[in-house]
Structures are given as C-alpha cells and as structure tokens.
C-alpha cells in the first residue's frame, strides 16, 4: 500500500537514523512511503507558542499537499504529527477557522485523507501479526521500556488512537519482534521537548527522572517514536556512557527483519547501542 510521507525537519538532520530506518522498514513491510512534494516545516512549538493562526496555517499547507497526492499522510515525528493532526482536526471541525485557513493557504479542504502517525500506520495497515511473521532474527533477550512521550496520544480527542494513559501499540510491535517490554508508569511523560536548547537544566531534570525509572525496572534500552524524545534521552542525561541506548522503534523492526542497513543507523547514535546488541548476539 502507498502512503504520503512527511518526514519533518529533524529527520533530515539530528534524527537521520529514524528517517532511514522508517523508509527501509516500511518497504520491507510492504508499505510504500511517498515523500510529500515540497513539504513545509510544521512550525513546531515555536509557532503554537507565539502565533495560533500560523500554527494551524503552516501544517495545513502539508494537509493540502497530501490531499493533492490523494493518499493518507503518515508522519514519523511525534511533534510534527501532533501539529498536522491538530490542523486537520481544526479544518474538519471548525467551519469558521477552516474558511480563514483555506484563504490563507489557498486551497479547499475536502477531508478525504487521514493524518496518522507512522506507528499507527504500521499497526493499523500492516498489523502486529503480519510484522511478527516477517521476523528473521527475533530480538531475544532484549528487555526494553517503550516511551511514547507526550504527543502521540494527546490530546485524546484529536489523536484518537491507542489508550491515552496506557498506550500499547509500540509495546505490541516490539513484542512481535521478539523483545520483552517492561511496564512502567512513565510511558507518556514529557522528555522536555524543545526546551533542550533554552532550558537545559529543566530538561536534564526530566530526562534523568526517566532514565532512573527505566533503570529501576531493569530495562536495557528505551524505545521511542519521536526524534525529540530520542535526542533528549541520549543527549540530556547526566552521564553519557554506553548504557541504556534509545532506539527508534523502526530501527528495531529493521534489526529483527534482518535488514542489512541496521548497522549504519546505530553508528549515528550518541549513545552507542552496539555493545548491548553484541552482548545479546543481536549484532556482530
């Protein structure tokens, strides 16, 4: 099946490995991602913090492009997903604002395409069982906690996928890959998001709390679906050793499916996951 794909700005830079693994994992699962032509930045926190109208108009441009392409829009970055999903929600439900946005962005909204997170796309379009069937190298012995972060599940009336307080979709995929997921109560906490650059201390506090909690339940790694979470979790902790790397869920899919590129992604991490994978004979 084919989906429009909006990688977002981070996947071209700090989260390259997410982009690469997402594209290759999807291909292996029979999902063709067609990059949205000439997509624009979603505006992220900076737009919605300073100008509400801009924060809806910018991502609406991507909705317009996806509508033109005529395929549902899959988004790997949770932050981009939340902004585009919000814009789509407004366009769908707020007639007055829709008119204003249509004139600003210069398009006519038809509501025919859906905006989905890449996680949702894989769970609902491919399915956990189909993923399990494609596994070549089960991730045996790997014990992880899944970290969904803020925006995949909130606000619930907008995202409308998986449980807000105890989401399981990523856990189910990771289990299908042969790894073990441990339950913890920090799944949907915040990693500090874009405060990393401006309020480093705050984010360090948040990240250390998450790392401590993951260690407490004896996780060997954290799994995320968001470039911001991943880089905060790897960059903003007190000490950066090799312990507790943070994987993108698509990287684990690639690894378990035996896709040869996996090694290249892991070298891009700030916290090297290779020693862990080698100790479990999951990498050479």
């Amino acid at each position: 099946m084919k989906l429009s794909y909006f990688p977002g700005c981070s996947l071209g830079s700090t989260a390259k490995e997410y982009d690469k693994s997402a594209r290759i994992a999807c291909q292996a699962l029979g999902v063709e991602l067609v990059e949205l032509k000439d997509w624009v930045c979603c505006g992220a926190t900076s737009a919605h913090s300073t100008n509400h109208l801009l924060s809806i108009a910018l991502p609406s441009r991507n909705v317009a492009l996806a509508q033109e392409a005529g395929m549902d829009l899959a988004i790997p970055c949770s932050a981009c997903y939340s902004r585009v999903k919000k814009a789509d929600h407004v366009l769908r439900h707020d007639g007055e604002l829709r008119k204003e946005i249509e004139s600003i962005v210069d398009f006519k909204y038809n509501g025919k395409i859906n905006v989905v997170s890449l996680l949702e796309a894989l769970v609902s379009q491919v399915g956990v069982e189909a993923i399990a069937k494609k596994v070549q190298k089960p991730l045996k012995g790997l014990k992880v906690v899944c970290f969904y972060g803020c925006l995949l599940v909130r606000p619930p009336e907008v995202t409308n996928f998986d449980n807000t307080e105890n989401p399981m979709s990523m856990d189910n995929i990771v289990k299908a890959l042969g790894a073990e997921t441990i339950q913890w109560s920090y799944k949907t906490d915040c990693c500090g998001a874009n405060l990393g650059l401006t309020s480093t201390k705050v984010v360090q506090g948040m990240v250390n709390r998450l790392i401590e909690a993951a260690k407490e339940v004896e996780a060997m790694a954290i799994v995320t679906a968001c470039p911001l979470c991943q880089s905060n979790l790897e960059m903003r902790r007190q000490e950066r050793g090799t312990e507790l790397p943070t994987f993108f869920f698509t990287e684990l899919i690639g690894l378990a499916l035996g896709l040869p590129d996996a090694k290249k992604w892991f070298n891009l991490h700030l916290i090297n996951p290779n020693p862990l994978l080698q100790s479990l004979s999951l990498a050479d």
């Binding site: 700005c9 981070s10 071209g12 830079s13 700090t14 989260a15 390259k16 000439d38 997509w39 624009v40 930045c41 505006g43 992220a44 926190t45 900076s46 737009a47 919605h48 913090s49 300073t50 100008n51 509400h52 109208l53 801009l54 108009a57 910018l58 441009r61 600003i104 962005v105 210069d106 972060g149 803020c150 925006l151 599940v153 909130r154 606000p155 619930p156 807000t164 949907t188 906490d189 915040c190 500090g192 998001a193 874009n194 405060l195 650059l197 401006t198 309020s199 480093t200 201390k201 705050v202 506090g205 948040m206 709390r209 960059m235 070298n267 891009l268 700030l270």
Partner: protein, 179 residues
C-alpha cells in the same frame, strides 16, 4: 465570573476568548498540577495559573515563567475533569505576554523567533544555522559544543539549508497570519 474591577474582568474574558477554554469551570482539583512535570521548575502550577486568570491577575500571570516553561505536553488537559486544555491557555498567555512586552523567559522566546525566521526563509528549519544564530543572540555560546561537534561529525548537522520551492507561498502564509 463576578469581578469587582473591570480590568480584571477584561483580562479574564480575553484569556477565555483567545484560548477558547472554559476557564470558569476550574474547581481547583489539581489533577493538572499532579501530572505536570514542567512547572516543578517554574513559579506557578497549572491550576494556580488558571486560578490567577479567574481572578484577573494580569501582571502576575503574564510575567510568570510557567507559561514559558510549560512544554505543551498536554497531560493537564487530557486529565482535566472539566475539559480545560491548560496548554492552550498557556499558549494564549504567551501570545498576550509578547504583545504586552512582558516576556519573562527571554531566551525561550528568542528561540521561537529564531526558529520561525528559519522556516520563513527556507520553508524548513535549518537546524545548524538556527542553533548558531540562537547561540550568538542569546550569548550562550559554549554549552553543547561537544554534542554539537559530535553531531556534525556524524553528518547530522548539514551545513546548507534545504530550500523548498514554494517559498513565496510560505512567506505569504507568514504575512497573512502576522498580528
């Protein structure tokens, strides 16, 4: 809400209208605060912000750091029994603080401006130049040098921006949404 003072009422109404949230319904159950990990680092809890808005305390609210330290994680709104999305209130308050010239966390606002300028000129953020410009303007030059260099070595901070074709269209969107 009943107010003894017209200015206080005006502020309350403005926040309510701008945020589109039923702020008057808050009964201080503090569910929002108990799930908020950000305001542990700032001056007010989310329920306090809502209460201060109810009481029309314009100066205190617009001058607070909480509205900026809020990471927009939306935990508060998802749990509020009265359907108040406090993150939306925080956003409305930031816009109002900017308009009133009362920005408590200057660097956070500077970051937002730098980010959006990058989007305005390229259509996408160019993270490398955005970070350099932010660092120069904020005067915080040396933190993160080590990670920055490591990312650069790994090819994660490209030197040149990716410019989209429809830049005119994007400028248009910026112009039409400008206050």
């Amino acid at each position: 809400m009943s107010f003894i003072d017209a200015d206080k009422r005006k502020f309350f109404n403005e926040v309510k209208e701008k945020s589109r949230q039923p702020i008057e319904l808050c009964y201080q159950c503090q569910k929002c605060a108990s799930g908020c990990i950000a305001t542990g680092f700032a001056d007010y809890y989310p329920n306090e912000i809502i209460r201060l808005v109810q009481l029309g305390q314009k100066e205190r609210v617009l001058n607070s750091s909480s509205i900026w330290i809020c990471s927009s994680c939306e935990t508060c709104g998802a749990r509020c029994p009265n359907g108040i999305n406090t993150a939306e209130v925080m956003d409305a308050l930031k816009e109002m603080a900017i308009a009133a010239g009362m920005v408590k966390e200057k660097n956070i606002n500077l970051f937002h401006n730098t980010f959006l300028n990058s989007v305005r000129s390229h259509g996408r953020v160019h993270e490398t130049s955005m970070m350099v410009i932010y660092k120069i303007k904020s005067g915080d030059l040396f933190s993160d040098m080590d990670v920055g260099l490591e990312m650069f070595r790994k090819g994660k901070l490209p030197l040149f921006p990716h410019r989209i074709k429809a830049r005119g269209k994007i400028k248009d969107i910026f112009n039409k949404t400008a206050h």
